[in-house]
């Protein structure tokens, strides 16, 4: 029974579609497989193709787009295609980092979905030979107004913490965004950062025939069978509830042992190649290791340690049981490898041999059950050209040279700026994340200089003067109108978060969360986002070293907002140069660097007050963004800055308020209004930062900024326990007349009121405050 039965022989009830379709493969894909094999595949082979040719593993709809991204850089040691990107840090060290989604599993089982998402990305980092040192979680949910959404949020947050806290990797950042488009399709994107010695980088390749494939970690069960093809690449709805796939369950304890054992194996130089088992399990690991090594691999199913009895060959080959690794080992080092696994209490077995014939061969009890060229499953799997067309109605940013609207037509009348500021600080998208982040261990590892609640997480690197700085951002609200702009804005914001600390960026990772690529305007969103990502990364000169694509993020309620989640890792060569975002001392000058422009579409203010029909998102000029970052870095290195905070969600007023809240110091400021008060105070136009300096450093800062053509304007002074912002200029006067009598031209509010609004933002919507 070894070889291919023609498909018609597959026992099938009349109404049941052919096996390949049930496995999610199209007729065209079946033809392609038949051509590749020069024969029809058997059931096991078909199952292996179905998981490897799923969107999740093959990137068949996105690969052609991803190829356009800038991936090179002098300090890039591993780029896309490896388990994670690796960039040089200095002092002989390197950083491995990557972001990945676990959206659909989290929708089905929030706790386990999120926990296994953390486990999965941790293993990617460990597979590079790096010790994980930080996690970040970017979460997107619908408005938490109903108990189902609140349970989802609780489950996901518990899951992220449940895994990360247990393995002892601090969570030092993330994102939490609410938007109705995520109600039935939440996003759980997790980023991990690891540190390794440059000369100890592990590679996912099996280059030497005769070497052994050792499977170690947890035993193999029926977890996530169909996960790769069903969970990750088909939209699910009520009807699929009946064919619920078996959910993966994480075991952080086993995950911790796996990390320690793997790092010992790498450190002692016992491995030739290494890959974690994620989607498509053993099929993926064996075919990719062989493909990258230019070899083949023979897998002996009988040798795979199992948790359950009676597993079919295809179940063993595609099982997504968690906490497993496949190592390629020189036979002479086998005993040492097995001894390390035994000591860490991990089952381990030789399950295969590297061969020279280029095929992945599956045998059981001496019988050959499958034979497929490794490259057909991996690097040469299919690509699907997709149709792209823009949606009918959208509002993109003004083209360069286009005159911006003179007035945003806002509902200015009756606006009390202090009340708006409190509402923004108390908005679930902007308020304190402590409700989430106190559930995460942020300080384990004794390296956390800044954890969650700041624009970027900062970790010192023991044994050096350096610190790693890391942040993650996205702009889904803008993306609904202009996905290319949104992706660029997310890169800009994320890089700005790095720059305000004084750090320079080393690399970008990204997670692209989109809808069904078969729908032309959904594909257009993906295409545009990749373009925006490419343009921004190129302009800022930051290589993109990896990422992840999650498609079919749709539910009966509709498609999610296009979400390009950006993660950037940076370095600060001397942690003594680090700049924090909190106001430091009474009398310091408050200065805004960069110039704002119009455009309230996509802002948090818009969520509260709406926007004029002819209004647009703010525009972004990458040269200005880059110049700002340069000023921030040089100013930090010259120890000019007392504090620095980027202007992003909620605009200038929220940036100032956050610095005030964190520093427990108020400020007295004047803001020039060119267009409208709402734009000046709450507009989210990019390329700006609020910094504070000692008064006697003013001329130095002006010189530095003007040298790089960055606007530099004094706003006022730090001090007191109130935030006062006087609005001055043309726009302020005009607007004040329009608003009529009795409305303040001045924002004047006590710090305690701002802090209260900010603190209660999440507890309030979660029904706990």
């Amino acid at each position: 029974m070894t070889l291919a039965e023609p498909l018609e022989v597959v026992p099938a009830v009349a109404a049941t579609p052919a096996l390949h379709r049930r496995l999610g493969l199209t007729d065209a894909e079946l033809t392609a497989i038949t051509d590749l094999l020069h024969r029809a595949p058997n059931d096991l082979e078909l199952a292996m193709f179905s998981v490897m040719w799923s969107e999740h593993c093959s990137y068949k709809s996105s690969r052609s787009l991803l190829r356009t991204l800038p991936t090179r850089g002098d300090d890039v040691l591993a780029g896309p295609g490896e388990q994670a990107g690796v960039v040089r840090l200095g002092d002989g060290l390197a950083v491995a980092f990557k972001i990945e989604s676990h959206n659909h599993p989290s929708a089905v089982e929030p706790y386990q979905g999120a926990a296994t998402g953390v486990g999965g990305i941790l293993r990617d980092i460990v597979a590079m030979g790096a010790r994980p040192v930080a996690l970040l979680d970017a979460l997107k949910f619908g408005w938490p107004t109903d108990s189902a959404t609140r349970r989802l949020i609780n489950g996901v947050v518990h899951g992220v913490g449940g895994y990360g806290n247990c393995v002892g990797v601090p969570t030092i950042g993330g994102e939490l965004t609410f938007d109705p488009s995520y109600t039935a399709n939440p996003l759980v994107n997790v980023m991990c950062v690891g540190v390794l010695r440059e000369d100890r980088i592990a590679h996912a390749a099996a280059p030497t025939p005769g070497s052994l494939a050792v499977l170690y970690g947890s035993t193999t069960g029926r977890d996530g069978i169909g996960g790769a093809s069903v969970l990750a690449s088909a939209n699910f709805d009520e009807t699929s509830a009946a064919m619920r796939p078996s959910v993966q369950v994480g075991d952080p304890f086993a995950g911790k042992l796996l990390i320690e054992a793997t790092l010992e194996l790498v450190e002692r130089g016992l491995l030739e190649g290494l890959q974690d088992l994620g989607a498509a399990g053993l099929t993926c690991a064996s075919s990719e290791l062989a493909d990258r090594g230019g070899t083949g691999m023979r897998i002996d199913l009988a040798a795979v340690p199992r948790r359950e009895e009676g597993m079919a060959p295809f179940e063993v080959m595609i099982s997504e049981s968690q906490e497993r690794m496949l190592a390629v080992v020189d036979p002479a080092r086998l005993d040492e490898v097995l001894e390390v696994c035994r000591r860490w209490g991990l089952p381990a077995a030789v399950v295969g041999t590297v061969t020279g014939d280029g095929d992945v061969v599956v045998v059981d009890a001496g019988q050959e059950l499958a034979r497929v060229p490794a490259r057909a499953l991996a690097s040469e799997s299919i690509e699907i050209p997709r149709l792209s067309s823009p949606p009918q109605r959208r509002r993109n940013a003004p083209a360069p040279g286009e005159t911006p609207l003179a007035h945003d037509g806002l509902p200015e009348r009756g606006m009390d700026p202090a009340a708006v500021l409190e509402a923004l600080l108390g908005h679930p998208n902007l308020g304190s994340r402590a409700w989430v982040t106190t559930q995460y261990d942020q300080t384990v590892g004794t390296d956390t200089v800044a954890g969650c609640e700041r624009a970027a997480g900062v970790l010192r690197v023991k044994g050096t003067k350096r610190a790693i700085v890391v942040a993650t951002d996205s702009q889904p609200a803008v993306a609904l109108h202009d996905p290319a702009l949104a992706a660029s804005l997310a890169v800009a914001e994320c890089a700005r978060n790095i720059a305000v600390t004084g750090a320079r960026p080393l690399g970008i990772t990204n997670c692209l969360n989109f809808g069904d690529p078969g729908v032309p305007d959904a594909y257009w969103q993906l295409e545009q986002s990749v373009r925006g990502l490419r343009d921004a990364a190129t302009a800022l000169g930051i290589p993109i070293t990896g990422g992840n694509v999650s498609l079919y993020n749709e539910s009966p309620l509709g498609r999610i907002a296009p979400t390009a989640q950006i993660g950037i890792v940076g370095v600060i060569d001397d942690v003594g140069d680090l700049v924090g975002p909190a106001f430091r001392s009474q009398g310091d000058l408050v200065v805004v660097l960069g110039e704002g422009g119009p455009g309230l579409v996509g802002s948090t203010y818009e969520l509260l007050a709406g926007s004029a029909p002819e209004d647009r998102p703010p525009s972004l000029e990458m040269t200005k963004e880059l110049a700002l970052h340069e000023v921030l870095r040089r100013a930090a290195a010259a120890h000019l800055l007392e504090s620095a905070h980027d202007v992003s969600g909620g605009g200038l007023a929220v940036a100032v308020a956050e610095s005030a809240i964190w520093g427990d110091l108020g400020a007295e400021l004047q803001v020039a209004v060119a267009l409208a008060p709402a734009v000046a105070l709450f507009g989210e136009s990019p390329s700006r930062a609020v910094v504070t300096i000692k008064p006697d450093r003013w001329s130095e800062l002006v010189k530095l900024a003007s040298g790089l053509r960055v606007a530099c304007r004094k706003l006022g002074e730090v001090g007191g326990q109130r935030l006062r912002i006087r609005l001055v200029g043309v726009g302020a006067t005009g607007a004040a007349e329009e608003r009529g009598a009795g409305v303040a031209d001045e924002l004047d509010v006590a710090l305690t009121d701002l802090r209260r609004a900010w603190d209660h933002a999440l507890p309030r919507v979660m029904g706990e405050g």
Partner: protein, 85 residues
């Protein structure tokens, strides 16, 4: 005219679903000199009282509570028992 019914709901990892807690307990047994113990599964038990006009009504309440709230049918199975007194 309602009475009180007390139930227990035993919630266990479904067959075939990984049970990390059971596995960890089992791994520790040799150190407890209890290597004659195996197949350990760890779950939860919830006890609760339902006010209802009828035993059947009470039972229905617990049934739906267990399926929709106390357990996740994807990974857990459960058994409901009426408790004495």
């Amino acid at each position: 005219m309602s009475s009180a019914y007390r139930f227990s709901v035993s919630i266990m990892p479904r067959d075939g679903i990984l049970d990390p807690a059971g596995r960890a307990v089992e791994a520790a047994l040799p150190e407890l000199h209890a290597d004659n113990v195996h197949a350990v599964r760890v779950g939860r038990r919830v006890e609760l009282t339902v006010e209802s006009d009828s035993a059947a009504g009470a039972r229905a309440t617990v049934d739906s509570l267990a399926a929709d709230f106390l357990a996740n049918p994807l990974i857990e199975s459960w058994a409901i028992e009426e408790m004495a007194g």
